[in-house]
Amino acid sequence: MIGLRSLATGLPAKLLLNPRKALADPNFPCNGTTKPQYVIINTSGGGDPFACNAPGTYDDGGFGTGTDYSQLVHPTDANSGITGIDPVGNIQLGKYKYTAAGPWGLLDPTTTLPRTSICHIMTNTPVHPKEPQVLQLMGATQYGEMFPSVLAKQLCSCLNPMTLQAQPISVGAVTPSEGLTFNGQALPTIPPTALSATLTNQTSSAYQGMTNLQTLRDQTLQDMYQWYKDSSQTSPAQRAYVDSLITSQSQVRGIAQSQLSQLGSITANDNAGQITAAITLIQMHVTPVIAVHFPFGGDNHADPGFAAEAGQTMSGMAAIASLMKQLNALGMQDQVTFLSLNVFGRTMDKTVNTQGRQHNQTHEVSMMIGSGFNSGVIGGVTSVDANGNPVAKGGKGFFDWGAAGIDSATGKAVVGGGDIAPVDSLASWGKTVMAGLGIPQAAIDSSITGGKVITAAVKS
């Protein structure tokens, strides 16, 4: 019965057996994380073709995967009409030099690429609505927590200063499906354009008198809250709500107003707006994890010449490069890790993907850029069936190009082998991210079941 319920609800059986125990986690002490970082994670429920243009899909850089990369199709300047998407062959990742779509060359070879890890994994779903489940690492996280929230809980109180809130914030979700949850509860998405007006104390002459009374107002509200809490007429549900108001009021007053001015420069919820919002929220120590959505081509089933894919790969990679450049300029490059995780990747075989790409449950590329990670490409692609099992290209059951197995010690793709099977690669990626952030192994293992740390990707 529990198993059936688990299937029906999408919630782990463990949670169904003892929901109270599963969800009781009121505070999140720092438990020894050695390299705490803020995290910016780029995620899309559209299954953007980010993976199709990443290092490791054009060649193996000399790593020796044995894959016939000529069978994979990529946009070109000529076909797409987008100048600059033609591949470049000088993406130095670790010891190897890879080919990738042109805009990958925007990543700084001295400050960004040396800390960039590209992981070829599979999410094991071709279904858009599974975006929340992918963010839960397809059932691998404890109690079905979303991975951004897993990280947030581990990081919030290890950062110095600790963040105002434990919950992550999405400033980029374009649909409710891309929204985040924390302890199973939906979190609102905050558009970057709303941040300034929302957080900034109003200081014009019409408001100055009210702003001057803010402390007194907080005292009155605190007094009111306390009355509600003490009153026998207040129900436990009402009391719990008042408690949450008390918390939010404390958090608001922790905001450094002096750092809010840059939010005023945000004019759109585009890539640039999201970058400014994310950096500012980090500088204000509001939250340890911020989710953004940089488009990389969207759900491009119908994309003749890969024009949309090419155009948005240009703008998306430019956004990542810009983010890194700004972090460096602010001296924050060692305080922030950038991640990406999409609901799935897209098909790449040249014989069928000429007018767009289909969903690919067997391949996705997630990247990490941060001081805790070794530069390199982890895993790679091989010809697979619909379940991700290696089959010969054009052979019986051939589906497309999917993630190969991974040797965790070297990061090398091992077709049909390695110590990390493709189906375990998503959980392994999650564990690897946690390891790169210095989260203790015990906490990693209790947060994510299955998979293992890809040690080759983690800076020792």
């Binding site: 019965m1 299937l7 029906a8 609800t9 949670l15 109270r20 125990k21 969800l23 009781a24 009121p26 429920g45 279904v127 599974k130 109180s157 600790m162 914030i169 649909t175 409710p176 891309e178 929204g179 302890n183 199973g184 509860q185 939906a186 979190l187 609102p188 709303a194 007006a197 929302t198 957080l199 104390n201 109003q202 008198g209 009210m210 001057n212 009374l213 007194l216 009155t220 509600y228 129900s235 436990p236 549900a237 009402q238 719990a240 709500y241 008042v242 408690d243 949450s244 108001l245 008390i246 918390t247 939010s248 009021q249 404390s250 958090q251 608001v252 905001i255 089933h301 969903h359 379940n387």
Partner: protein
Amino acid sequence: MKKTPMNRVLMTVAVPLALGTACFLGGDDNSNPDGGGGPDGGGPTILPFQADSPFTYVAKVKNIMTGLAPTQAEVDSVANAGDDDAKQAALVALIDTWMTDTTAANGDPKDKFEAKMMTFFELAFQQTQLSQVDFIEVVPNGNGSIGTSPNSNLLIENVKESFARTVIELVMHQNQPFTNVFTTTQFMMTPALAELYAFMDWNVIDDVEKINDKFATQMKTVGVTVVDGNSIPYAQTIDPKSVNYMHWSFPNLTTIQPPGPSNPSPECQAATRSWVSTNNGNTPSAHLVHYLMYGDLEAYKINLGPPPNNNCNAFQADNNNAILNVATNNDFGTWKLVNVRAPAGTEALTPFWDATVLRAASELVLTTPRVGFFSTPAFHANWQTNTSNQMRVTINQAFIVALGAQVDGTDTTSVSDIGANPPGLDTVHTAGGAACVGCHQVLDPSRTILMNAYSDGYGTQGAPPATKGEFVFNGTIKPVNSVSDLANNLISHPYFANAWVQKLCFFANSEACDPDDPEIQRLIGNFKSSSFSWKKLIEDVLSSPVTTNAKSTLSTSTQWGPAAQGEIVSVARRDHLCSALNSRLGLVDSCQLGITTNKALKGIPEIAVGLPSDGYGRGAASPVLPVNPTLFYRSGLENICEDIAVELIDAKAPPNTGAQMFTSTAQSNIDTAIAFFVSNLMGIVGDDPRSPIMIGKLTDHYTQALANKAKPTDALKSTFVVACLSPNVAGIGM
């Protein structure tokens, strides 16, 4: 009670689980999210139940129905009614009053309850969450899709509102059974929306986004000519007998595309421009005339050289001189019920270019079948499909809307009854393995019904599949011939009544109700036995203890599902908050929720877009409903309250007629204002024991502010902000 498969589906609720929100900053040590016991305890996760008084639940129900605060008489009518049943009956009487109360109206629709239901139905039927870009695939063209001008934004607002208004008209004005809205071919339309429906029938999109432009075919030799000035009366433009047939006046045509890199050719400043088959290949198109109806001119090629020299840039109007306009004809605000029917024999389609026909029309003659919620442009723009998806997202979202459940591999229909090869099964997808077969055996026959009616671009289907498909969903298998059959199968499905009770549970309580709760079974039974009366369902759900918490129910007191939390006091999400502020303070759409605009929002609307709101996601059977206040909510609400305080207290002029104004000029005015803040803004009536307490706290605040050297006006504004930030305004159920 044994959980049925349907019950299990209903347990997929992403319902609130209390948060430990502080990361060792702020907060309260007592804020245990579980409400009792330690983290390793084995007790229930829900909070202990404590019945609410009429002071609380009358305020809650009136708030979620109208945004207004209760009156003393209204609370008394319930509090003094005797036993629980009598109290519930008294509340039903109030609900009936609130459903029909049209007093103190602000804006459109006139009735506050209708306004609430508008929002509810837009979300429940998944007709909202739309912007211009969502129409790119259902109105493809490459030059701006449905349009980008301010008038086009009004059209998009019409698209979003249409079906909700249809439901209100049919079930609330005409008292038709709620089931009728699923089978209706009548839709509330403005002349502008009628133009869109008709235009989409002339500009037909096929499975691969290719346009069959019937207008271009019909006007191939007539052409379309656009002429500077006002010399051609519109009556002549649309008169086939006139020499000016399809000649369109366009004031200032010569100046709208000024010379420059975007418009390098002198042709872009010509006073007369013609689109005919002999003119450089610029044949007339339906999309060109669709734009002209809104005062726009789409970008077009003039074949004078390589790009960009062969292009004239698009022009978007920002005035009321368009054929479909605001000022003269109110073409975006005049709503009426319009029937959509297929042409009889060779009967002509309704001409989308004829505004006089559109304004007078009580029916549209169109080939694309329009039946119920899943056939609207809004639903189609929300759930775009393609040659790979082939209507699977559409049918799945239709199941979610109508039946509160989706195809997720747990369907209870016997596989042997479906058969190994049901009509419409896509063997390519099922080749992926056994895991795919379960979903596709249900999805594929059902989506084939839609494929027979619509192309993948939601145009008229010109190349239907070989089979009609079959209705297959959770125990029901029925043969079908049309989308009308699909609609009828939805309303006759066993899940239907339960689904809509649950949707109102979410609306009222921010979480699902226990489907096994006898109280819920009573509500479901009443809904069925009332011939699916929406009025009866509203009465029942909103007066039920599952909403009022007047007494314990299984839904509010037991751990009926893995995420059940019992009674929830939720943050006042955007729609409820803005409605309450408008209704209680006499403001008109202070959050600008009713306007689609491409202009930068300022002030309250700018903050409102970031407030937690109700939403739905692809493949999610339950709505996304944030329930806890965050620091963003707290901060944003404070700024909203300050904005309103500046507008209403000691202001030179009210922001709108009917706004409740306050003054700090005398102590009597201060006392009156504070009394209003407690009774009308916070919704605490005079006999409520909390009333004198809250009046005292606000009065103390005002006095202390003066003692801190604040001016009386600032002291009163700050007092208003305290009331506005109080749990009674920021929460639903206090």
